[in-house]
């Protein structure tokens, strides 16, 4: 009797151990696959999307944004009366983006920046944040959207060659605000001007109309997710000429500010006369 209960206990322990072990096995595989599946970073999201990490948590993959986009009133061809392709696509297998999440490819179909932003208020999960595209008066304002940031590759932009092209500048819905033209003298010919497109990141919404309009074979101006198209100077840089930025350092007196580094510990003469190893 004692022996059989011993056996059954051993069997129970073994089964439990195996179940837990197999759960861990599946869990590790599953986690690994999920982590890889959400790893695609260069993805442009709809207006009002939360930062990518939060967006991927929040999006319930219902497609209501994409349906609102394709079925908006303005998306009907005026001549034929037919529906044009929508901006937002739902990622499917083979798109190499988290499956079922909305994205857009400006070179195919850019965001046309509808005033009523049909895609955002329909989002049930909060992955598209209506507040982020609402102005102080409580009205939807697509100009507040930050889907990405347009970047110019000047080596392939023919305006930088001296050819006259302002396709992106004219296509921009925020003309002269998000993209302005900078005039420069063309020293090669001596009598022509460069009309160089310059993107202003504080205004650009990342709609991609410039990328769509770009005349080069592969767009020389293109939208990247803001995180990938921006740098960061760091908090230790303070714009001394900017009163607002000055406030960051507060009321500290000059002599209170410690700026000694390993290099500046020694007097300048010593520093110049001695080789310092780092």
């Amino acid at each position: 009797m004692a022996k059989s209960s011993d056996n059954s206990r051993r069997k129970f322990m073994a089964t439990t151990l195996q179940s837990v072990g197999l759960s861990a096995f599946v869990g590790v595989l599953w986690s690994g696959y999920s982590a890889e599946a959400k790893a695609a970073k260069l993805v442009l999201r709809p207006p009002g999307a939360l930062p990518e990490e939060d967006f991927l948590k929040a999006c319930i993959k219902c497609g209501l944004c994409a349906e609102a986009c394709v079925n908006r009133d303005s998306n009907v061809d005026q001549e034929t009366g037919e529906q044009r392709p929508g901006t937002l696509k739902m990622a499917k297998g083979g798109d190499h983006k988290l499956v079922g999440t909305p994205f857009f490819t400006p070179r195919d179909v850019p965001c046309y920046m509808c005033d009523d932003i049909p895609c955002v208020p329909v989002c049930p999960s909060g992955a598209l944040d209506e507040a982020s595209v609402t102005d102080e008066k409580g009205e939807l304002d697509i100009n507040k959207a930050r889907m990405g940031l347009a970047v110019v590759h000047k080596e392939s932009c023919v305006a930088f060659w001296g050819l006259q092209c302002d396709a992106c500048y004219r296509a921009c819905p925020l003309l002269d605000e998000a993209i302005s033209l900078e005039y420069q003298k063309n020293d090669r010919t001596g009598k022509h001007a460069f009309l160089l497109p310059v993107v202003h990141s504080d205004v650009c919404t990342g709609c991609g109309l410039c990328e769509k309009a770009c005349v080069t074979e592969k767009a020389a101006i293109f939208v990247l997710p803001t995180e990938y198209a921006t740098g960061k100077a760091g908090d230790h840089y303070v714009k001394g000429w900017d009163k607002k930025d000055q406030l960051r350092v507060g009321e500290r007196k000059m002599d209170e500010i410690e700026t000694k580094t390993k290099r500046s510990e020694k007097a300048p003469v010593d520093y110049l006369n001695k080789e310092i190893e780092y």
Binding site: Q18, S19, L22, S23, V26, G27, W30, S31, Y33, S34, A35, A37, K38, E53, D54, L56, K57, A58, I60, K61, C62, G63, L64, A66, E67, V70, N71, K89, M90, K92, G93, G94, D95, L98, V99, G100, V122, C123, P124, S125, G126
Partner: protein, 273 residues
């Protein structure tokens, strides 16, 4: 006609729902928009999948109230009325696995019951919990990353792409691998609905007196452990794993099986006793 009455009804609702969802995207119909993850009925009533909602909550994101309300509505519907009916009356993968199952019978592939030691029918409940844990760890709704259900549904609405491979994989798994493998063993969404629908009103009722023990019902049932009472007792199928598909009722030649409301069935039983 009787042999396929509920089968036809189920295909009608399954395909009908897909048509409504498809039309919402393709033609802007405002009847049923979205996907199973989250939908809007008649442009007003939110609906949401309870398990998907739980996964999003597990990631730590405080999801919008529309989804919470939608998940509550769906949960309430299946809890009170439908039971696990989502699996057989709504889910499009059901058509794929039913086809695999039917082919198995035609090709006589399921003559021998194989005991898969670690692929028991309880595995799905483990996977359901595991899915929530993985969601929390990775920060993404984990089952939705690979769910053939929503991949197939979105495929029909928005275009399949390579997503069709997941559907084919499920078909092959059920046909050549494990009988009722996906829906009956693996699917964590089915597990969630099994738990939700345990106490629902609509139940299949068995009449022992009429039964001739032909066992046709057990052959077609995708969860035939729930039919333990066949030729034994006159009771209702109360197991939450029954999908209320009604196939057993269709194939029963003796009128020994039929849908009933739980309370009515109980009353009848009391009256008989």
């Amino acid at each position: 006609m009787k042999k396929i009455k509920y089968l036809l009804l189920r295909r009608f609702t399954q395909i009908g729902l897909l048509v409504l969802y498809f039309g919402a995207n393709a033609y802007g119909w405002n009847i049923l928009k979205g996907t199973f993850g989250s939908s809007v009925l008649f442009g007003v009533i939110p609906l949401a999948d309870p398990y998907t909602t739980l996964q999003v909550l597990a990631t730590g994101f405080v999801i919008g109230s529309d989804v919470l309300l939608g998940a509550a509505i769906i949960t309430l519907f299946y809890f009170v009325i439908g039971g696990r009916a989502f699996c057989s009356w709504v889910c499009p993968i059901n058509m794929v696995t039913d086809l695999a199952n039917w082919l198995r019978r035609v090709l006589k592939l399921d003559k021998e019951e194989v005991n898969y030691r670690f692929l028991k029918r309880s595995v799905r409940y483990w996977l359901m919990v595991l899915g929530l844990i993985v969601s929390a760890v990775v920060g993404v709704a984990a089952f939705e990353v690979l769910s053939p259900i929503t991949i197939m549904q979105r495929g029909i609405i928005f275009g399949f792409g390579a997503g069709i491979s997941v559907v084919i994989a499920i078909f092959l798994f059920d046909l050549f691998g494990v009988k009722n493998g996906w829906c009956g063993h693996v699917c964590p969404l089915g597990a969630a609905y099994s738990l939700i629908g345990q106490k629902s009103l609509i139940r299949v009722k068995h009449d022992h007196d009429a039964c001739t023990a032909c066992m046709e019902c057990k052959v077609v049932c995708p969860e035939n452990q729930v039919l333990w009472m066949i030729n034994k007792e006159s009771v209702s199928v109360t197991d939450g794993e029954c999908t209320n598909c009604g196939r057993c009722i269709d194939v029963c030649g003796d009128n020994a099986l039929g849908f009933s409301i739980r309370a009515m069935a109980q009353k009848q039983k009391e009256a008989a006793a």
